[in-house]
Symmetry: C2
Subunit: 152 residues, 2 copies
Amino acid sequence: MDRNLLGNNVITQIGILVHDIETVSQTYADFFGVEKPAWFWTDTVEKAQTEYRGNRSEARAKLAFFDMGSLQLELIEPDEHPSTWRESLDQNGEGVHHLAFVIEGMKEKVALLEQNGMPLLQKGEYTGGRYAYIDTLKPLKVILELLENDKK
Amino acid sequence: MDRNLLGNNVITQIGILVHDIETVSQTYADFFGVEKPAWFWTDTVEKAQTEYRGNRSEARAKLAFFDMGSLQLELIEPDEHPSTWRESLDQNGEGVHHLAFVIEGMKEKVALLEQNGMPLLQKGEYTGGRYAYIDTLKPLKVILELLENDKK
């Protein structure tokens, strides 16, 4: 077993939950002196095959990305369907939701983390890859997201 | 005025509040396959000249740092004296407290942010520099920390 459970320690994104992505995107753009990025909807469940706590979910979110040096800030405005985004926003309010890492071998990594007491929270597909949110709140105090991008 | 209020957009640290830095440091070390760093106390108020919401505070915290690629994860276990660390931990529990940026010209930056509706929360000195936490929770959904290091 790799001594590092993820295979690397490079944080690639910081995900932040917001109620109003349009307003917060503009605020970030003004603050950092950059253009406001266009937000976009995550894919529908048919395409994303979204599962939340083991069940298919219609959940989608609006996403906007800011390039911040070596990583991205990701703003997330979830819809009302069940998701880790909606659950965290309802329970904890706006703020940091997750730290994301690019990994290889999603199934094996998710299984390894589950064996180590860190269960899968949510997963889905996106064009060119797939994601998984892992419930690492108790041990690491923050949710981790795994991102696997298909080889081109 | 610089279009970017901080002068850069490079996140240098992510600060995470914890109740038990010894346990969480070991968990992070095991998870990422690295040595557990030694935690240390921030300086006493006499040396740090700590101010929290405009008042001198005896507050200190235990800190531990993990190098994560291009930035650091900072674990923070505050003592019971008044601080932004203690306040956030009591109100929101464990989790991400702030994103830190290295800046130049602390007084000017703090004044500029205050003029823009983002007040100083806490400040202090450390060997070789000084820090300031800014209340950017409402606009940016996370507290920012400014770090100014003295020229060597």
